[in-house]
């Protein structure tokens, strides 16, 4: 090889860098392509598993994940950037709404929820999808972390009928939702968010069910 010049060195190392980048981008692209369908299947399965926890499969007979509308930023649901609402129907009649909702005032930031509201206005179930509440303290809002495995805290919401909604508050605030002493903030954030989402679903019931699937409200 001839003696190294600055230009020669730059050209050589530059082209080697480009070659490595191309090769390893190809490796990543290949893996992405090979795993894509499997990952999508897992994600759908995961979603359906979550949904089956808040809404029994017998309550609807449509393809839930396909009957979806998008909403823009909605204050009642705590959504700053919009979200999805899935519509469960049985024999063509409205059965329930599954709303993505966010409790903005968790102890450590936002708590993302999925809230199922039956067509009669009662709450079918609630799950925390993503949160950063303190492990061992506020994270009992997530049934996987709740020490009470028999009746996790969040299952209280499933007992709420439409008439009970005004009492969808912590017992401390005059409602009927029990909470763990010392970790009120997480529980209150979820409870308030559920009450708001139920109010939103009741107020917009007809509009939400009437909109064609895939619509953006």
């Amino acid at each position: 090889m001839s003696e190294t010049t600055a230009l020669g060195l730059s050209a050589r190392t530059g082209s080697v860098m480009v070659a490595f980048t191309v090769i390893f981008t190809a490796v990543m692209a290949f893996t992405y392509g090979a795993t894509k369908t499997q990952i999508e299947a897992s994600a759908t399965e995961e979603k359906m598993k979550l949904i089956s926890e808040v809404l029994p499969a017998t309550a609807y007979d449509n393809v839930l994940l396909d009957d979806v509308i998008t909403v823009g930023p909605t204050r009642e649901l705590g959504l700053d950037e919009g979200g999805h609402i899935y519509r469960a129907r049985k024999a063509g009649q409205p059965a329930a709404l599954l709303l993505e909702a966010t409790a903005p005032d968790g102890y450590s930031g936002r708590i993302e929820l999925i809230v199922a509201i039956r067509a009669d206005g009662g709450v079918s179930g609630v799950r925390a999808v993503a949160h950063r509440e303190t492990p061992g303290l506020g994270d009992y809002i997530d049934p996987r972390k709740d020490k009470n495995k028999k009746s996790p805290w969040i299952t209280q919401f499933a007992e709420l009928k439409a008439a009970d909604l005004p009492r969808c508050k912590l017992t401390k605030d005059g409602g009927q939702i029990a909470y763990h002493t010392g970790a009120t903030i997480s529980a209150r954030a979820v409870t308030t968010a559920v009450a708001r989402a139920a109010g939103y679903a009741a107020a917009n019931h007809d509009r939400l069910f009437a909109a064609p699937s895939g619509d953006k409200l």
Binding site: T13, V16, F24, V27, T35, Q38, G136, L137
Partner: protein
């Protein structure tokens, strides 16, 4: 290289140069994930995989990597392999992926991976380098497992909680009974520092005791040459 050299590499990684308690490298994931045994060991296994792969690939390619740009190339390769592991976990071990999700991409930033590539794989042949990666990863996993066990036991009074996500049907052990109130600080970040500090102290104590014994019973050879 022969078998003895490979054994030395392995021993080096697992005990003598243990990443967690001797080199004290890669603390961010160690402290963040060691809240329970299952989390800790799972991340440890993912790290072993990435370290073995990156050491193998880089040792095999070491003659093609110009010295001047080795660090960017190393990071490129590590990032690519981590992405591959991330995608593979997401596709084929989805339950585990839900637990480890955000931590797998963080393996890229774990300086222990880059450190071993730079210090070992860039200068040695592929088989030895792979063993080094695996051994270093095992060393890290052991520290993670012990830390996870200590923190989980003190913090929530259980062992192996979350095991049902890996083996459906398996159950966590409630060591102190169901009504153990929990000791929060062990789960929070300070608990990780306390526990790691105790582990480092423990290892140093073991090594110091070994050294002191060696000094008390000097080897039988007495005719050492006098020094000026």
């Amino acid at each position: 290289m022969d078998i003895k050299a490979y054994r030395d590499i392995a021993w080096n990684g697992i005990w003598k140069q243990n990443t967690g308690v001797v080199q004290i490298l890669g603390l961010c994931p160690i402290l963040a994930i060691s809240t329970s045994i299952v989390n800790a060991v799972s991340l440890g296994l993912a790290t072993i995989l990435v370290m073995a792969m990156s050491n193998l690939v880089i040792a095999a390619l070491r003659n093609f990597i110009p010295y001047e740009i080795r660090i960017p190339v190393f990071i490129l390769i590590i990032a690519a392999l981590t992405t591959v592991v991330d995608l593979a976990f997401n596709a084929y071990l989805h339950e585990l992926y839900l637990v480890l999700g955000i931590f797998i991409p963080l393996i890229v930033t774990n300086c222990i991976v880059l450190a071993r590539v730079e210090a070992f794989a860039a200068k040695n042949e592929p088989i030895g380098s792979t063993i080094d990666g695996i051994a270093m990863g095992i060393g890290l996993t052991l520290v993670l497992a012990v830390l996870g066990a200590i923190r989980e036991l003190i913090g929530s009074g259980t062992l192996l909680s979350g095991i049902e996500m890996l083996f459906p049907g398996a159950e966590a052990i409630h060591v102190f009974g169901d009504d153990y109130p929990g000791f929060l600080i062990a789960i929070l970040p300070p608990g990780a520092f306390f526990a790691l500090g105790c582990l480092i102290a423990g290892r140093n104590w073991l090594e110091a005791r070994k050294l002191a014994r060696a000094r008390m019973n000097p080897p039988a050879i007495t005719d050492t040459p006098a020094e000026a």
